[in-house]
Every structure is written in structure tokens, then in C-alpha cells.
Symmetry: D2
Subunit: 358 residues, 4 copies
């Protein structure tokens, strides 16, 4: 059993970590950290709204009893050295301060974007780029840390990167044009998207999102070279929008490959893609990383987001595109708060545990 801590434990992503780690066979939650305001309280008390007394818990699953009783420590005072792993679910500005302190002694898996673009920090998606974990050695040497920081991808990147991987491996993806229709939960709660603003509406812009997706995709699909990651040679262009959906990011993808690839071959490559996951027997891994559906009306966020516990990316409408060279197009659906957040981070932790990085 690895003793793990959750930093930012009272926030939504922190709560999702608690659910994802409940009864986990390899990880035991040994510390919960949050802001000074929550420190010294039990987790159950810390969740209470000071004004109304209502418990602010946002997962569908109820909070486990063990969590409610645990004490919350201040994130700045967390003794990471007593832990085997820290899951960090804080905002980027706090991540920038806290995570390097923890990493001196302890591995950190972060959902924040603070270190995601630094050259010695990998963005690991199990099954897609397991080998990138090797970068952590370099990071340790570079920074003189016993631990390390590894970053989770943006919730809009992850589904697209997973679906591109088998195509890139076999056919060489050269360019990608993507339009996202993102769920409300991706915007969180502070401040989040007002009901007033999204009812009967589409919002055609999400600040910073397109740049993140473009940069991360190249890094995730890049190759290890000279101890670093050489970004994949793919041109990526996105328009990211918000729609009135609670969970599940839908994305339309148009892409070009170096070698000819018809829709049938693409469907086969995606459906069969495993990336070594089965062999690793990670507890949170989906049975299929990618589920390809031939019903043209799928995937739909409400019907398909929970496929394989929200850990599979569902693809549909796979067909030829007549604009790009060797063009293909499809629609994908990825669960932004399951594979795209805490559960995805726990899966990454399982990979690191299994491959000896913890």
C-alpha cells in the first residue's frame, strides 16, 4: 500500500480524488490538505459552508466515512516526506508554489497546468506514452529532487490524444483540425459558467484552451530523444466552445495522415489499440481505451460519457474527409471529470507504481 496525500482536497477535483481512491487496492489516503481556512478541521467540517452549514460535496457518489473523519492539514505545512505520493488538485498559481516543495521528497501527480509545459515534466497518459516516464529521472537530476512532478493533460486534450495515438503509430498523423463542445463541469465552480449565460446558448471561446490543446498534443505524441521529448511533427488547430452539457467533452476531429488510411482501417486501429495496458493490469484502466461505435447518432455525451466508468474515449462517425490529404474525420467523447481529471490521474499513478517510479 502506498500512502498518498491529496492537496486541494476540499475542491471539486480533490473530492473526485477521494472518490477515485476509495477502496483503492494500491493506494491509501493518509493525508488531506487544503487552504489555511480548512486546516485543523475534520474533512467533514471543512466541507461545510460557514454561512449555511450545508455540506458542499459535488460528486454523485457520497463522501466515504473515512474521509469525513480525517483531519485536514494546511497545504503549506503538509509533511510530504511521510507520503509515498501526492495528488495535487490545486489551482495553477498555488501549484507553482506548493508542488516543488513536495517534490523535494515525494512524487507529485498534478492536475494543474503550472509545470505541464516545462521540458523535464512529462504529461503521461497510460497506454499512450508510458515511456515518457523516463523523463522523470532527468527531472530528478536536473532539480536535485528525490520526488518529481508529473502533470495530467488538460481535459480537452486527453480524449483527442488517445484517439490520435493509434492512427499516428500506424499511419503518421500530420495535421489535425478540431472543434470542441465542452461540458460545464470543465469550467469548475469558481466562478464556473452561470445558468443564465449558457441556457439556450453556445459560448464560442474558452480562454487559453486552444493553445493548451495544441501544445499538449504535440508533447504527448512526441518521442523521447536525448533524454527529452521531441514534440510530434503534427499541425494542430482548434476552436474550443462551451455547450449546455453537464459532463463529457464532445470533439469533432478532421485529420490528415502520411500514409493512406481508410475509415475501416482507422476504426480497427482504434478499437484494437491497447498500448500495453492489459498486460500492466492497472486497477483503474478501462477494458478498452477507445470504443468505436458505428451508430451515426453516437457518441452523445449523456448516453456515452460513462462508458467503462468514464475511462474510455468513445468514437463515432468515423469516415473519409475530402479536404485534407488522406483525410479522416470523426467525433469523440471523453469524460472530462473522470479520465480527464482525478480518475485519469489515479490511472497515471498506477502506471508509475507498476513501473517502479513510486
Amino acid at each position: 500500500m502506498h500512502r498518498v496525500g491529496i492537496v486541494g482536497a476540499t475542491g471539486i477535483v480533490g473530492q473526485q480524488f477521494i472518490v477515485a481512491l476509495d477502496k483503492h487496492p494500491w493506494f491509501q489516503v493518509a493525508a488531506l490538505a487544503a487552504s489555511e481556512r480548512s486546516a485543523g478541521k475534520s474533512y467533514g467540517e471543512a466541507l461545510r459552508d460557514p454561512k449555511t452549514g450545508a455540506v458542499r460535496w459535488y460528486c454523485d457518489e457520497p463522501p466515504p466515512a473515512w474521509a469525513l473523519a480525517m483531519p485536514v492539514v494546511e497545504a503549506a505545512k503538509l509533511d510530504a516526506s511521510s507520503l509515498g505520493l501526492v495528488f495535487s488538485a490545486v489551482e495553477s498559481d498555488q501549484a507553482r508554489e506548493l508542488e516543488p516543495v513536495y517534490a523535494k521528497t515525494t512524487p507529485v501527480i498534478s492536475t494543474a497546468s503550472a509545470f505541464r509545459y516545462e521540458e523535464d515534466v512529462p504529461i503521461i497518459i497510460p497506454g499512450v506514452n508510458n515511456a515518457h516516464a523516463a523523463l522523470l529521472e532527468r527531472q530528478r537530476r536536473n532539480r536535485g529532487w528525490k520526488g518529481f512532478i508529473t502533470a495530467q493533460p488538460n481535459c480537452t486534450t486527453i480524449g483527442m490524444a488517445i484517439t490520435l495515438k493509434p492512427l499516428h503509430e500506424r499511419f503518421g498523423v500530420t495535421s489535425v483540425i478540431m472543434t470542441s463542445m465542452q461540458a460545464l463541469s470543465g469550467a469548475g465552480r469558481s466562478p464556473g459558467v452561470l445558468g443564465l449565460d449558457i441556457l439556450d446558448n453556445v459560448i464560442p471561446f474558452i480562454s487559453g484552451e486552444e493553445e493548451k490543446v495544441q501544445k499538449e498534443t504535440l508533447k504527448i505524441l512526441g518521442g523521447l530523444r536525448n533524454g527529452g521529448i521531441a514534440p510530434a511533427d503534427i499541425a494542430v488547430s482548434c476552436t474550443c466552445t462551451r455547450v449546455n452539457v453537464r459532463e463529457g467533452h464532445t470533439e469533432t476531429v478532421f485529420l490528415s495522415t502520411a500514409k493512406p488510411c481508410d475509415a475501416f482501417a482507422a476504426a480497427k486501429a482504434m478499437s484494437e489499440y491497447d498500448g500495453g495496458l492489459h498486460e500492466l493490469e492497472l486497477p483503474s484502466a478501462p477494458e478498452h481505451l477507445i470504443v468505436v461505435r458505428d451508430d451515426p447518432f453516437r457518441p452523445q455525451p449523456r448516453l456515452d460519457r460513462d462508458t467503462e466508468g468514464g475511462m474510455a474515449t468513445v468514437v463515432g462517425r468515423l469516415r473519409r474527409d475530402n479536404v485534407l490529404p488522406n483525410g479522416l474525420k470523426y467525433v469523440l467523447l471523453s469524460h472530462n471529470t473522470k479520465m480527464g481529471a482525478a480518475k485519469g490521474a489515479v490511472l497515471a499513478a498506477e502506471l508509475l507504481a507498476k513501473t517502479g517510479y513510486l
Copy 2:
């Protein structure tokens, strides 16, 4: 005053024609036609649900008194020869039977797709391809009709075609990749989209829509040659989806031009584009065919669909695309039941009236 008839007058598009023609300075509604079931009733009676007695009227504007009192004739028995113009708002299968009969004596402007793809039937968007009206002469000769049939574009095509026109004229559009997020009203009411199916959801497929947009765009932007239309040499690829929005189709567009064109030049070309509309002084024409906004959060369907009475196409997020050669990308919003349906057809009728085709 041109005496006009509306066929399919009791349906939603027919109702929108009545609103669009209320107090029209050039057109006077002289006949309303519908199915046999409605024939012989007053229009007001024909709108009543036989079971509940409720009036089935679906426009925001109330039904004008003159319309409620008018008799409804059976579409198959309408004497089109007494009319100067017929607006046809029936489904395609009925259009295929009825419209050629009317066209023997009388011009027909149809919102159905029945004849839209025939080579002597133009799809006219005033300001975009006024010259295509010349095809009507050929159609008359070909078919031996005194009248003619002209078709309105699909509601998903029209906004894109309008925004492509100024770019095509100045820079030569060579390819277009588009994702639509279409409103519920585009699916009509028979059967339409159930609330159950679209709540908290996106539906990634609209049967036949992508093919229509691809084919129509080339025809609309094509040139007159040897008395026919040579389709524009543009590769168009789309993914059409349905979102939980009442009115207003949002589309993300990525395109390539032959000549270099930066976002500033594109914005200028779009904003200034007039296509000769001002000079024609058509009563239903918007002041600006295209409104370009620089607020990155616009256009939004709820906020922008009624721009210039729903007759302007609103463009935002205009910027470079790094995937396509001389790439540009933007988001557009077009009101699918105003410019994209009856009001757009009335505008086309105005063009034909002004240019001597009626």
C-alpha cells in the same frame, strides 16, 4: 403590389412567411394553401388542433388578423395562374409534385430541397449570387414554363456561403472544414427533437445535412458559364451536430485561400461586403450582410441571433489557422428560421421583383 400565395401555410415555415409578409410594401398575400384537411376552413380555424382546440401558432409575433380570416385552399387545387408568385413551404415530397404545376404559370420560391440540386434551378442568396437568376431563363426554356422554380439554400448552408463569398471573391477560397452546432428549430416539429433527447446532450449527426451543405456551397459560389452554373472549385467537409439551442446555427469554419489573407484583411472584406444590396434597396435586406465582432466571446446564439432582425450573419473569433495553407478560422452565427428560412425567401423574392423576374 405582387399578389402572392403561400403553400404549406399552416406549417411552421408557412407561418413564418405570413409574419415575414405582414405589411410588406411590395407583396400582398392573396392565397393560402395547405393540405386537404385544412381546405375550406378559414386560416384561423385551420390552425386549431382538432382534439384540444388550441391554436397551433409557433411564431413569436402574433398571427395577423388578415391571415386568420383568409380561406385556406387545397394545395393541389390552388390556381397559381392568378398569382404573381408562390412561396412554397411544403416538405420535399409534396414540393416535387406541386411546384412544377404552379411553375407552369407562375414563379415559385421554395424552401424545400426537392429541386435545389437540379442544374437549371438556382439557389439565390441576394448579395451573394444575384447573377444566378439568369439561370431562370434557361429553366423556362428547358421546361416550357411561364413561371419557374428557384430554391432557397439549407439553413446550415446560408450563413457559411455568405461569409465565404467576400473571401472567395478577393482571395480565392480553396477548402473549407466546418463543424455546425445547430438549433432545435432547424429540425421542425414533425417529429422534431424531443426534450428528453437533447437535454444535457449533443447529437453528433443530422441525416443528409452534411451532403447538402457541401453541394449547395459549391453551387452558390459557382460561376455562370454557358448558361449554367459551374460549381466553385472548393473542397468542403463538414460535421453537423445538434445542440440544445432554440434558434441560431453556430458554425466553426477553418478555411484555406489561394492568395494570402490575414485576419485583418478577412474582417475588412467581410465587414465591407455588400454585394450590391444597398443599391437595390430591398425592404428585407439587412444593413450589413455580415457583422464582424472582435469580442472573443461572440457570436453567441442567444445574444446575437437577432442581429439586424435575424438577417445578418455574425462572425467572431476571426484568426489565423496554422494547419491549412493561408489558413483562417472563425465562428459564425446565422438565424436558421429568419435568414435561413421564410425571411430569406422573401428577400430573394424582393431581388427577383427588383430585377424584373416577377
Copy 3:
């Protein structure tokens, strides 16, 4: 094992019966019946849309393999005598014809309203009025049937009747004023509620609903007398509305009791109410018929509808009302397509099986 048939098996409620009966310990589905159109096909084939080939399956759970392979027989030709029980999920007009034929030989549990108001047909809610099953003997005698027909309540009645029961038992409910905010699924799919009509909206009328709730509540809470049911002496008044919620009917209840009853006593009575269910050990019974919450922001349909598998009624905001004598008010939430439809009917069947009526 009781061999059961499902009539109307291809419709939504029929599909829900298949899910509710999958792996049921007491009931085995031995026949599926539907319209002539589906007869002779396998159930899987019968679900396919003849035009698009898409499978029309509307439950969250996938269709069980055993069901897809079963043959569908025509409802009018179903040999009910070979079955121990028929679940009828057809519309009322068909129910009126089909159910009496089945009942000649076989018990019928119907979700239709066709026979719900006949004086020898009970509306049984397990835990609320188990004794009403005695009426079935009289029905058999009256009608000369070996079987019988028993009716499920309307989905808007059931949650209110369940919550009123413990209060009526202890304090004597004398009057009830209720406003419902009903989910879209309650309107079904033929034609159902259009997305266009309910987006950004409330519809303040559901035809026939208020009368049903008023009549059924009195019958369910009535007492057996002289072999019949004497309606409860309660004045009930409702306004039923439709809101943009997928599943789960929310109802605000204001009521008056004969004996004084404060909110605390009411909460206790509701929370502890069991109606003999535990002792009966029915497989589909919830652990608690009524779950009372003290968080004033609950119940909410999205958060609470699946409480105890959708079989519990969730009550919140229980407090004094200052208008009615001994007034109380609360908000309740009942899952209209679980307890309020097929799963509720299966629970009723379990009660009848356990108490010797099958």
C-alpha cells in the same frame, strides 16, 4: 419461478420492464408481445428503426442478450394461459381491449389507466395499501375470470400517496394542495415534449393529470369496506406542470391533518414508515420507502432521483404551514420511470407473489 409476459415490450415502459426483470429471482420472462408490425421478429430486430436501422432502446442499461434473441408475438394473439403473470405496458385504448382477454386466465399488472378507476380494480402500492389486494377476489367473482387486472398508479400520484400514508395513518390527513414540476420522461416519446417547447420554459398544464392524481390518491389511501374500497375522506387539489428535467417528478405539498402534527413528528413518521415491507422481503423493495432530508436545498431531481435505485421517495423542506389547519408543507421527489413505472409494477408483482395472489 413465475413465467411472465410483457405486452407492449418494444415501447419505453416495456423496455423498462425488461431491465427491471433482468436476473429477477422470482420472475422469468417467457413471452414478449407487441404490435402486429413487430410480430414474428426477434426482439432485437423489432427494436430497429425500419428506415435508419438504428436500435431504438431508451434505457440507460443495455438490453440483455436473452431479450434481444426472444421472439416477439402479436399482443392480440398472446397465449396468456401459458403464463403466470402478464405485465401490460400498452396505451390505454389497447389495454381496454387486450387486458380483459388475458385476465380470463392470467393475472395482469397494468401501467395503463384503462381499468384504474373501476371499483373492483385495486391500485396497489406495496407498503401503502397491501390489503387492497383482497379486492382481486371480488373482481374474479364479478367478472368470472381466473386471472385479474391490477393497475399501477399514475407516476405523479405514487410519490405523494406514499408520503401521505404515514401521516394519514397517525394524524389523519384531511386536505392536500399540490403543485407538481414533472419530468419530460413522464410524457413519453409519442409524441413527447419537444426540446423547442420546453427549453427556457415551464408548461403549466398536463391534460388529465390533475384529475388522475386527485382520484387515485383517495382510492389508494381508502379503506376496504364491504369488499370494496371506500375512498379516503381527503380533499385533494393539484396544479400539474412540466419542467425541463429528464427524470424525477418534484412536488410541493401543503396539507392539513385532523390531529396536530409538527414537522418533527411528521419527519419521524415518514422516516420510520415501513408498511410491513421489510418483513415481506420483496427483492425490488427499497430499504426505506421514504427518505427525509434536512438540507433545505434537497431534494433535487438530478441529485436525488436515484436514491435507493429510484424506489425511494425523497422528502425535504418539511415545515409548518400557516394557512391550513394543523398545516404542514414539504417537497417530494419520486422517480417517475422507476418507482413510478415498470420497477414499481414489478414490486407490486412481488407483493402479489409473496401474498399468494399469483
Copy 4:
């Protein structure tokens, strides 16, 4: 022309005041006041988000040019003595500090609840209780002010009070049971209701709302006695909920009258009710205070909220109630951000101007 100021001018209600006062025949906006942060800027600048530069303007109508150019002064430093009237659109805690200062010299009409329940502060709804303005004399004497404070009712109270008035006048309303289904705009934007929380949902509690409605209704319908207001002798009980509607509060009302009153008489009393408004010729007054519809599917918020510019209360489903003595029930719809906010306050100002209080 009365020179008026708007305090809280940059907030949503402040913006609605600007729209409501644009081209007003009697009032000219002479000062805009807001927080210290906005002071010294032009109004147009003050609306800009300091981070994104986007203009935060939330009305459907565009901001008038005169407003954008006006300087914004700090609310605490506003020289009210130079104004004939102050419209106050600040939150209650600020209202408590600022309004008494302005009232020393100048009449104040406030949308805040700060002084709404004080015994010398009237809540005036033109047409309902014009005579309550007499209380302002007493307030001036009591407090030694040249000006006064008058309060607008809560947006949930106003529609109900208007519809009760003609019934109370003719038949004597004795008790009222109301359930509200309130729009998102009623919760404002700070923090407002998240899309995540209201999608596919109903929230059964709005903190403090029920108490406000109950208290205000009695005050508004009360009579002047001994220079004060004697609350009406009506028992009022409410459950207030939030639904996924943008604008327009829907309320189901069940009521009892002292004298018998059938639905027809009630409809007549409501439809004909004028309260002296026509004679006063107030520019913002609706043609009909109450519009009664007999289509049982109305009122619906999306279809009916803008009736008479959002200034009429629309009533439907008027019928007998069988629970309360001389019981009646109906559904009403009131536009919470038109009659229920700034436009309603402007109407009240018009009444005060016409009757000599300004």
C-alpha cells in the same frame, strides 16, 4: 424633466435602469454612481472587465451612447441634493448605508430590501396601492428628511400581489398557498446559479424568499390606518423553487375568499382591473395590469414573459379549487427583471411624479 441619478449603475439592475430610462419623457439621467473602483471612469470604461477588456453589459438592448459617455461617481460621494430622484440598485447592506444619506435631500426609490419592512416605508405598486404613498409624509416627519425612501417589492411578490388585488377588493382574499418556479435571472450574477447546478434540475429552496413574499404581500394589500399601514388579514404560505428558465417567474396560486367567487367572476375582475392607471397616463404603465388567458397551456415563461413589454402579469388556468373555502386556483407569470425590477421602479417613480411626491 426630473434629473435622476442611478446608484449601483454598473450592476445588472443598474443597467436595466439605464435601459428603462433611455428616452424617458419625464426623467433625465443626470448622474451615475457605483463603487469606488468605477469612480472617475466613464460608464463605458467602468463596464469593462479589467482582465479581459470585455464589456460586461447584460441587457438585450444595447447600452445607449449617452450612458457610455457619462462619468461615474462614487456612490458614497454622490451629491444627491442636485438630483430630483435617486434610483438605488445596490445590495441591501450598501443600501442601508447609502440611501438614508441621499434621502436627507432627495427621494429614493430602492430595489433593495434594506428598508422594505420598516413601518414608515411603503412598497408601492402603481395601480395596486397608490394611496400608500401617503406614508412618505409620515416618513419625512419621522426622520426629518426632505426626501424619502420607497421600496420596490421582491420580484416574486409583485405578480402575486397584483393578481390578488382585484380579488381582494371584490371578494376578500383570506388565504393564499403559492408555489413559485423562479427564473435564473432572479438570482443575479454574484454568484448566481451555476449552469452545472440547474441543468436537468429544480432547486427547491431560495433562502429568505418565502418570508419576503409572505410579509410583503400583507403590507402591499394592507390598508392605511392612523397614518400607517395595517397589514391585510390574509394567511400566506409559499414554497419557492428555482427552475431552468432565464426570465419570468411562474407561480401556482391556490386561494380562499370571504365571499363566493367563481372562476368567471375572478377572470372578469382581473381582466378589468385598472387601479386608476389609465387615468394617470404613466408612460411605463401596461395597457392591462393583468392579462387573463383561457388556453390551458398558458402562461409559459418563454412565450408570455414579454407581454406588454414585461409589465403585465399573465394569468391562466383560472378554475375552482376544491380544498379551500370558496377556493380558486390559477397560474401566473410575472417578468422578474422588467415589472419585477427596474421598469417596475420607473413606473413607481412615474406615479410619484404624477401625484406630486417628486
